[in-house]
């Protein structure tokens, strides 16, 4: 317990770093996921911008990246992270790598949620002369908003999960804190403290996500 009290400043720093990593990856990964997910949805057979080759490539890419365990993806994508962020280590490198992995995971969630929109409402929009961009902005995204918010809430938890291994490439955060000060020092109380903070964070975000989704669905 004393060890934990001594480590409190580090704990807060770690919590801040986790928030930093997760917030940025939620933004970039979420945006990437939205674009790739829309791409998958729009180019699939029978959709408004049907494009078989493009769908094939996107689909393959998503299936290719998604099954790679994140810690391996982190190592494999390091040269790319270095090229983009200027460094293969540290918080920015891990933000890049998580955002990349999350884009593909989120892409599937976005695609699935868009598929729940009844094709009939797209027909209705087309029948009054709406073009693809307008259909995306005024039909697809608003009609799927509730499930999409829940999807983003779901991916948030996955981001916290991925951020835990940041320590392996010199990043920080609660995961790193738990490993460095708790697991390696044989001090379970320190580990549990980090776990507790993560649980609080995830619970808060899940409640908030549910609340927003309820508002979007008007239930």
């Amino acid at each position: 317990m004393d060890a934990l009290i001594d480590l409190l400043p580090e704990l807060w720093t770690a919590a801040y770093e986790t928030l930093y990593i997760v917030a940025l990856t939620l933004f970039f990964g979420g945006l990437g996921g939205l674009l790739v997910g829309l791409g998958l949805y729009l180019t699939r057979a029978g959709s408004i911008l049907e494009n078989k080759p493009l769908f094939f490539v996107l689909n393959l890419l998503v299936n290719f990246v998604r099954p790679i365990p994140f810690i391996i993806f982190l190592a494999a994508a390091q040269p790319l992270a270095r090229a983009v962020t200027g460094s293969g280590i540290g918080n920015n490198a891990i933000v890049f790598t998580i955002a990349l992995a999350a884009s593909f995971a989120m892409a599937r969630i976005v695609e699935q949620n868009l598929l729940t929109v009844t094709p009939g409402v797209i027909d209705a929009a087309r029948s009054v002369g709406a073009g693809p961009i307008r259909i995306i902005a005024t039909v697809l995204l608003p009609e799927a908003l509730g499930p999409l918010i829940l999807g983003y809430t779901f991916i948030f938890v996955a981001l916290v999960d991925m951020s835990a291994v940041a320590g392996y490439v010199g990043g920080g955060g609660l995961g790193n804190f738990a490993l460095q000060y708790g697991y390696r020092q044989f001090n379970p109380i320190v580990t549990w403290a980090a776990v507790l903070l993560i649980i609080v964070l995830v619970q808060f975000v899940q409640f908030f996500g549910n609340y927003l989704a309820r508002k979007a669905l008007r239930r």
Binding site: S127, P142, E143
Partner: protein
């Protein structure tokens, strides 16, 4: 002038699998819809009627033939140019297809937004339309708070927003109960009468055709097998499929099975008389029978009315001496068609 004119239109779907066969949904259909018509297209599921109507506003593209809409062949137009064409064609759907994320008023405003109406004009037009369909008090409601009939009325208001000259109704009442169906059909009739909108109605229910259509085309396996004014097709269907549709709303000539049942109950001679319009005077026909001393009983059939014109078949069981019956039937044959069923 025909506002919608299909010329030898075909729609073939490519095979879905490598060894699959292509599917012909529409097989050389030609059809003229005149301004002000309520044109019914009836057929069983899979007859191609929904595909046909979706070709008219190019939700589906034709694979052959010409589709003239308001004097323009839209078949070769690229998607971009079609958006302008679609502003002149409203469409309503079986499942209503309202935007669940928008209020009733914003659903009706949607086509106006797409067409680029200024905001103030939109509000006025939406109020006018909701008033017309009788849902002024539901402007702020969301689609999931409405009944099926109300949803379809919102659909109609939305379809009319940009003042189209043509309205396509794709099974618009098939998800509604009979009473609501008649409310919606009455509204469509008003749309036709008050705004002069030409309506194309797709349905599998002959009742819908009987209630509102002025002309009808019967579709089977991607072809139009019979067409004409509704009265003609109802009172004198030319092909078996049409006759089957007519028999769903009109009790006409008894089928062999029904006749066998009638035979069990009635020992005498059984004849079917056709009544069409006021050309045949029932009083005269029945007067002849009574005057000759032949007693009769109506055992099957009925008289219906389409657009105020009566028609139907009555099957009678006659009792009396054979020579007397022969003589009186001889005379009635000069008044109408008599079929003796044995």
């Amino acid at each position: 002038m025909a506002v919608v004119s299909l010329r030898n239109v075909g729609k073939v779907y490519p095979p879905t699998t490598k060894d699959g066969a292509s599917v012909t949904a529409i097989d050389g259909v030609s059809l003229d819809v005149e301004a002000g018509d309520i044109y019914g297209i009836i057929g069983y599921s899979g007859a191609g009627k929904s595909t046909l109507v979706r070709l008219v506003n190019a939700l589906e593209r034709t694979t052959s033939g010409e589709i003239w809409v308001n004097g323009q062949d839209i078949a070769p137009l690229p998607e971009r140019d079609l958006r302008q064409v679609r502003l002149g064609i409203g469409m309503i759907f079986q499942q209503f297809n309202l935007l669940g994320s928008r209020s009733v008023a914003r659903n009706v405003a949607y086509p106006l937004e797409v067409a680029g109406y200024p905001k103030e004009q939109r509000a006025a037009r939406v109020a006018e339309l909701l008033d017309f369909v009788g849902l002024a008090d539901k402007a702020g409601s969301f689609p999931d708070q409405l009944s099926g009939g109300q949803k379809q009325r919102v659909g109609i208001a939305r379809a009319l927003a940009t003042q189209p000259s043509i309205l396509l109704a794709d099974e618009a009442t098939s998800a509604l109960d009979p009473e609501t169906t008649h409310e919606v059909l009455a509204l469509l009739k008003r749309v036709n009468a008050e705004f002069g909108v030409t309506i194309i109605v797709i349905t599998h229910e002959m009742d819908v055709i009987q209630t509102i259509a002025t002309k009808v085309a019967v579709m089977d396996q991607g072809r139009v097998i019979e067409r004409g004014p509704v009265f003609d097709v109802f009172s004198n269907p030319q092909c078996a499929a049409s006759a089957r549709f007519v028999s769903t709303v009109v009790k006409g000539v008894p089928s062999p099975a029904e006749l066998a049942v009638l035979r069990l109950r009635h020992a005498g001679r059984i004849v079917t008389l056709a009544f069409r319009d006021s050309a045949v005077d029932q009083k005269e026909v029945f007067g002849e029978l009574s005057a000759a001393g032949v007693t009769f009983e109506v055992v099957y059939g009925g008289i219906n009315e389409i657009q105020g014109r009566p028609f139907g078949h009555l099957t009678l069981a006659l009792t009396g001496a054979d020579p007397v019956i022969d003589r009186v039937l001889e005379h009635i044959r000069t008044l109408t068609t008599v079929t003796e069923v044995r």
